[in-house]
Amino acid sequence: MGKAASWPQRGAVAASAGGTSAVWGECQGSGSKPYLAAVHLDGGTGPAYKCSCPSRKIPCKHVLGLLALWAQGEVADREDKPSWVGSWLDGRAARQARAADPAKAAPADPAKAAATLRAREEAVAAGLAELRLWLHDQIDAGLAEVPKHGYDHWDRMAKRLTDAKARGASGWVSRLPSVARQESWPERVLEHLGLLHLLIDGYGAGDALGERTRGAIRSRVGITLKADEVRAGGESVGDTWVVLGRRTVPGAEDDMTGLRVWLRGARTGRTALALSFGRADQAPTTPYRLGTAVEADLSFYPDGHRVVPDPGTELPGPVPQGTTVAGALDAHAAVLAEDPWRETWPVVLADAAPARDDRWYLADPGGDALPLATGVPRRLLAVTGGRPATVAAEWSPAEGLTPLAVWDRTGKAIPL
């Protein structure tokens, strides 16, 4: 962690007044994706830290390792920087400016809001048109040089998309440098570019697509709705929502932590995703606790999955209904048909047992098995003793299963 070799990409951002403004680096760990760590040193209120690792410690060991390296003079000033660093620092600067001048936080005005939205859609369309040409240029020129491109190459496009208010699309572009460092990068980069191209086409197709697909596209591009708007106009579904599990993830915005809580309707079988966010030093909160269910009318975002969290009435949670591996994959395929950009989906496997050859799996009683994204599933093994149990997990074909919760013999839910 504190060794230069663990940080193939790193740099310091010089402050305009001299000295160092920020230090950043990409830590190559055991996983396929590097951890992105950065420290903002001259932010005014003491240093701020950011890291994409799941640790709740702030600063985490990656940040500390990076600082140790910097202190040893192993992190040189660098002109270019990845866009995740740039946008984080920009966001912090903007928030500081806003905090200094509260008058700029404009109040809402419906007519003005509608005009703003139209202007935004047009700006996004223009940004995406430019992105389309840029993508074509990349493919025309060939991807062979991709790993050699500096951050500037990607950053310019990502910045233009941010300026065009397409922050979601901008995020897709800024992830390219790290995609290009993964194993079998030509395939990963082409997948990434192909899906991005599909997103642009999807945005252009507009009403020709189903409502959920349109909703998914708009939110992925970066046109988001406020919770109030969803409550007012979104689909409302009443059910007993069983909490399947939760997972802390890096937030959409850069110094935020996101918390995903997955719920499943006991009567409708609907899957609901409650997202909450916290700023760097403050953990996100959620009304939902594992082992419970809530009786509530939930308002769905247009993508048909995300909901506005509503505490409802808490009840003891039953063990959720599980499926076989094949059943889970079928459900995932159906979701991809509506939202091919979806990277993760909750599955509940019934009678799933830990299995192992050169890595760990969860196997159903029929012998079908899905690989785990994690290492040894220590807590799952401890709780089940290797016996079949109901397990909720997030499924990603690229990463594997990330276990969220297991229900033990007594029906008690245990977070994983």
Binding site: L190, R356, G367, A369, R379, G386
Partner: protein, 509 residues
């Protein structure tokens, strides 16, 4: 990842075309994919790549892998829900109470909660002092779990009361399993265990394995084991020899012990004016280094080496040699040594008392017989000899050791001396000692030293039997004198810790 591609050829063609670039290479035909709107150029390639990608994602086919063998069980019953919450609090910020919690769990015949076994096994991996307690409280589920993480392998070598000797495992098992088999056999039939170890001893190639198996001899150790231990004393491995010597030290009637007595007699004797005279110990004396498990030095023999020889010789030789040699009781021996001004010999004797766990000598050393307890103990506690106080006190029964300390500090003893003394007294403390300490907290003679006050409170919280909490004052004693603030807080957290421990005991009966 075992993602079989539904269209490997098309996908591979698309990837290689994308690498070269559509400016130089035509977009490949992909008849296995649905038609796309564009038919040439970068747009067509990207459209087809997207199709192939989504098809790969949606068409994921599962692997076929056999589940692992589950824990055969059955296991001890798990602790109750309240004890689970208690453990969570301990893991979060009361680590110092973890050993006590684990011991209570094992004593109650219960097992730690399954969901927290990984965290407990991790603690054991980091802290070897916790290992046997983790093994006992982890039950058979803990041992089953330990095989899945190399960091937890230590657990597999910890003895299990349920172990039953099995010839096949003894001969062909892993190092840890063989160690456990021998331990189980020694508990049931020490003689047979010794015979089996003696039979394989010459064939054990690794010194570490010899050491670990020799460790099992500790169970059921008796005079008949001396011959095997003598063999081990000739071992090539220094750790094996050291362990053999430790075990031999517990057999004061062995031939080895007699040889050590002879060595002492050859070098020590009564001197003039009731003193003791010791002559330098030389390395080439017949068998001396071998009997002390020491390596023959390669360089010159200096003061340091001679000191080490004397220290080891005194530590390992049965203490009775001194009373015989000088014709007096232990107190007399210690006095003569003190009168001789030989600090080296004096310290070595105190060390021997702790190592040999001799209560009679411990009482003598603690000055009990002379009524000068306070001076001696405080001096010992304060000085560089403070380390020796604890082993001496440890060999005395609880009541006696606490009573001794009660008499050892008076109104004039400063905070730091009180702490040094108390720190040397293993728990659990008697009610009388606890009350005496608490009454004196912050009283006359105490330094206005918040750190010292707090340290004493921490000791009391750790070593007081928790049921005494009801008898202790709720208000901080001498609050006005200590000036509130940190000291008040320290005393109140002492009470909190005792209440916490009391609840913990009640939950694990």
């Amino acid at each position: 990842m075992t993602t079989p591609s539904p269209a490997p050829d098309s996908w591979d063609l698309l990837v290689s075309a994308a690498l070269v670039g559509t400016a130089r290479r035509a977009v490949p035909e992909t008849p296995d994919l649905p038609a796309t709107g564009e038919s040439e150029g970068a747009a067509a390639l990207l459209d087809r790549a997207a199709l192939a990608t989504v098809r790969r994602l949606a068409g994921y086919t599962p692997a076929r892998v056999d589940p692992i063998d589950p824990d055969p069980g059955p296991d001890l019953p798990e602790v109750g829900e309240q004890a689970v919450r208690r453990l969570e609090a301990i893991l979060a910020d009361r680590s110092e109470l973890l050993p006590e919690w684990l011991e209570l769990v094992a004593a109650a015949g219960l097992r730690a909660p399954a969901e927290h076994l990984p965290a407990l096994l991790d603690r054991g991996a980091r802290d070897s002092a916790l290992r046997s307690a983790v093994a006992a409280a982890g039950g058979s589920r803990g041992r089953w779990l330990a095989r899945f993480d190399p960091d937890w392998a230590y657990l597999l070598t910890e003895s299990d009361p349920a172990d039953v000797f099995d010839e096949d495992t003894w001969l062909h098992g892993t190092e840890g399993e063989r160690r456990r088999m021998l331990g189980a056999l020694r508990a049931a039939d020490p003689a047979r265990g010794r015979e089996l170890l003696a039979a394989v001893w010459p064939d054990l190639r690794k010194a570490e394995l010899r050491r670990r198996l020799l460790e099992a001899m500790e169970t059921g150790l008796g005079p008949e084991d001396a011959d095997l231990l003598e063999t081990a004393l000739d071992d090539k491995g220094a750790n094996v020899r050291g362990l053999a010597l430790s075990l031999l030290t517990r057999l004061p009637h062995s031939a080895h012990a007699d040889r050590l007595r002879d060595h002492v007699r050859a070098h020590a004797g009564p001197g003039p004016k009731d003193t003791v005279v010791v002559t330098p110990v030389e390395p080439d004396e017949a068998g001396l280094l071998r009997d002390l498990a020491l390596a023959r030095p390669t360089g010159e023999i200096g003061l340091r080496e001679r000191s080490e020889y004397l220290w080891t010789l005194v530590t390992r030789t049965p203490l009775d040699v001194w009373t015989d040699l000088l014709g007096t009781d232990p107190a007399g021996v210690l006095e003569r040594v003190a009168r001789s001004g030989d600090d080296e010999l004096h310290d070595a004797l105190l060390n021997a008392i702790g190592v040999q766990e001799d209560a009679v000598w411990a009482r003598a050393a603690l000055g009990l017989l002379e009524g000068r307890v306070t001076d001696r103990m405080v001096k010992a506690a304060r000085g560089r000899r403070s380390l020796q106080l604890e082993p001496l006190l440890r060999v005395l029964p609880v009541g006696e050791r606490c009573a001794l300390v009660e008499r050892s500090f008076g109104p004039g003893t400063g905070t730091r001396d009180v702490w040094s003394l108390l720190n040397a007294v293993p728990g659990p403390w008697t009610a009388k000692l606890v009350h005496q300490v608490v009454d004196r907290l912050g009283g006359k003679g105490w330094d206005r030293d918040q750190g010292g006050y707090r340290s004493v409170c921490l000791l009391v919280a750790e070593r007081t039997p928790p049921e005494l909490v009801h008898d202790l004052p709720r208000e901080t004693p001498n609050l006005a004198a200590v000036g509130g603030g940190p000291s008040d807080h320290a005393y109140q957290s002492l009470l909190n810790t005792l209440r916490f421990r009391l609840d913990m005991h009640k939950e694990l009966v």
